[in-house]
Amino acid sequence: MIWAVERIGTSSLVVLKSFQDTLSFAITTFLRMFRRETYNSAMRMVLVHQIYFTAVQILPLFTIISIIFGSLFIGIVFQVIKNLGLVEYLGRILMGFVVAELSPFITVLLIALRSSSAINAEIAVMKVNNELRTLEVFNIDVVNYLFLPRIINGVISVVMLSSLFSVLALTSGLLFSMLIFGMSLDVYTNALLNSANFYDIFISIIKCCTFGFFITLIPIRFGLHASNELTSIPVAVLNGMVKVFIAIILIEVLSLILRFI
């Protein structure tokens, strides 16, 4: 019995320590974002490259997925609205569901699958190859040069791609509203604009920023856990990606609690 309690206690302490370390790392990097000297020429170049890899290269795939998922969800939502006779709540449901919940969630899943895993592996490989030591030897701050561009890119990319998803989904919503309800463009636009709630949009943007921040910060932190052996790379990526998905769920739950209290 005592053995079991000890095991639970030890595991809890390990989880709490990891959580505390992640938060401490998050605070350090977050504060660095607001220092002017962080943004030198080398850092800006990495930031531009990262935005290209994360938000631009993915555009064709992301657009197709947005149109397919957006149309599918909007089609289902419209059919349910019609069956339940809730047409007057159309705008509210679209803004509350598509813009505030669906867009950030699908976007963050796609970016986590593609970019978080890449960042995790990249940092782990750099650690194994001693490349992080190279940067230290040349007095290059790894937080400023390597980590911050990736984290800022995560924030920018999730916000921008989530907005794109919303626009594409709402545009396909226009087609469905015409087909199912025979609604005109003016009526549809008015329904959306009248339902736009500043608080919802604000929470949605904050949620996207938080998603972007943590889905890049966590892979970096776990990439740094790699040892000097090549075999530690898959372990570092696996651990990092599991934590990324836990973080996504936690942020989603917290944002829902914030919206509905």
């Binding site: 030198n40 020429s41 080398a42 850092m43 170049m45 990249e122 490989v125 750099m126 190859n129 001693n130 490349e131 030591r133 190279t134 940067l135 030897v137 040349f138 007095n139 290059i140 040069y145």
Partner: protein
């Protein structure tokens, strides 16, 4: 100090040009184009401007040594430390190649120190002819 050593490898996901330019961009906040112009200028002295867009894995040992040397020389008022050069370029019989590589860019650093095993001392005795 600019270090040339196997313990400070080139960054594998950056090409040669950016690996070298990085020092100037980071420390002197030099624009990317300006930093790359300087890098190409020095690579030309080695006749290696063609490798500017190549990554570490594609370089020969001699090319890698020159690139690491150039990167070290990019440090302001550089004091270059070369750590066991024969380990980086194992096919060298003597230090002629190392001396020539240093001479080609002697305007870019203030001092250079080579650290190596004492049993390799003879390999550094190279005559000028």
């Amino acid at each position: 100090m600019g270090l040339v050593s196997l313990d400070a490898p080139l960054i594998s996901n950056l090409d040669v040009s950016i690996n070298i330019a990085l020092i100037k961009q980071y420390h002197d906040n030099l624009h990317k184009d300006e930093a790359e112009r300087i890098v190409i200028h020095y690579l030309r002295r080695y006749g290696m401007e063609k490798i500017a867009r190549q990554r570490n894995a594609l370089l020969t040992e001699r090319e890698r040594f020159c690139v690491m040397l150039l990167r070290a020389a990019m440090v302001a008022d550089a004091v270059i430390a070369i750590d066991r050069p024969f380990k980086m370029v194992p096919d060298l019989q003597n230090a002629r190649f190392i001396y020539d590589a240093l001479k080609n860019i002697d305007d870019s650093f203030t001092e250079c120190h080579i650290f190596d095993y004492s049993w390799d001392e003879d390999r550094y005795r190279v005559t000028d002819d």
